[in-house]
Amino acid sequence: MRFFAFIVVCLTGALLLYGTGEFPDWGDPNSPASLHLSNYYIENALNDTGAPNFVTAVVADYRGFDTMFETAVIFCGGLACFLLLRDFREKKDHYYRHIPTGVILHVKDSQKPLTIGKEFGYMDKDWVPPDLIIKTVCRILIPFIQIYAMYVVAHGDYSPGGGFQGGVIFGSSLILLAISYDLKTLVKRVKERVLGIFAAAGVLLYAGIAALCMLMGGNFLDYSKLAPLVPWNSHHNIRAIGMLGVEIGVGIAVMAVMLIIYINIVSEGRHDEGL
């Protein structure tokens, strides 16, 4: 089987390499990919959309439909993880740690769980004593990571960044919280219901801005019709502002879906213990 696979892979690779003989050289400015459509985007993006970042201009404005359904794809990915894995059954037996003595209690069939506080702490099969250095460093770092994520979203029109990137950074800062403390700390701070609402609200914000353009008398996703809503804007970059709103929606949706996927996978859908 291995040998067979190796032969197949070698043959496919040789075929692909044979095909590259016809391809343009690396970095060739006259390659076909760079001759037709992309020049229009580079030369006209600032005038058309008011966003100096061509990639954001193309993603959020020229190809706005594509990005909207891309956000829907992300939402569906999170929804599929939730539906496949979420397990609402309560676990019967719980483990607790008596903090002053370090004794571990195993409570079977308890209707009333012990209160977690100064006296008792959680315990599970993966529990390790919290590492002071890791916890402290993460506690200091996480707010800065989150501010950076918001910067990446807000400056998506002007510098490298955008909704997807910022949302992923924000989501990973919260995943860092779950890794450095434990999953319960994250689930206690970020409720599952909030995550679900955020994931849907992000997609809805995108589609809502697009529909608002229609209400204002333009086409779907025609941000230029939003100008009466921001009368204090004097820079003629109303399309960039519409793109910013759309990117915020994308960022919220991506952040929530990242967390939904992570929490469901590491805890096998029970949201109690995990990495």
Binding site: T12, P29, N264, E268
Partner: protein, 132 residues
Amino acid sequence: MSDVLSLIVAKYNYWLYVILMMIGLYGMIAKNNLVKKIVGMNIFQTAIILFYVSVGYKRDATIPILANAHDAHGATAIHAADYINPLTSCLMLTAIVVSVATFGYAMALAVRIYQRYQTLEEDELRMRLSEE
């Protein structure tokens, strides 16, 4: 010999993507463990992303963000040759998002399979399935 070598050097981005793609394909075909297959799929997707992004590169060009867009004079003349192709980066943004969604979904499926059959090895899975 030097002809072949210069050909490789001129198109080495394609060689890299083909090698990476074949590593992913081999992982998907030959590996027995489902998680390794999923990682192989991810490497395959990454190879395609690398291919597209390298196609968009132009020699002596900079990132696709307009320089001096907010100077007093603004950008008067924009030369398309000065900026790399933004279109490939946009398309790959889509591909990355889709690969995240498929990766999460595949991992969720793997977790479910493990919950039910207590294994992720393909041959053992086939045995369990034939027992039922």
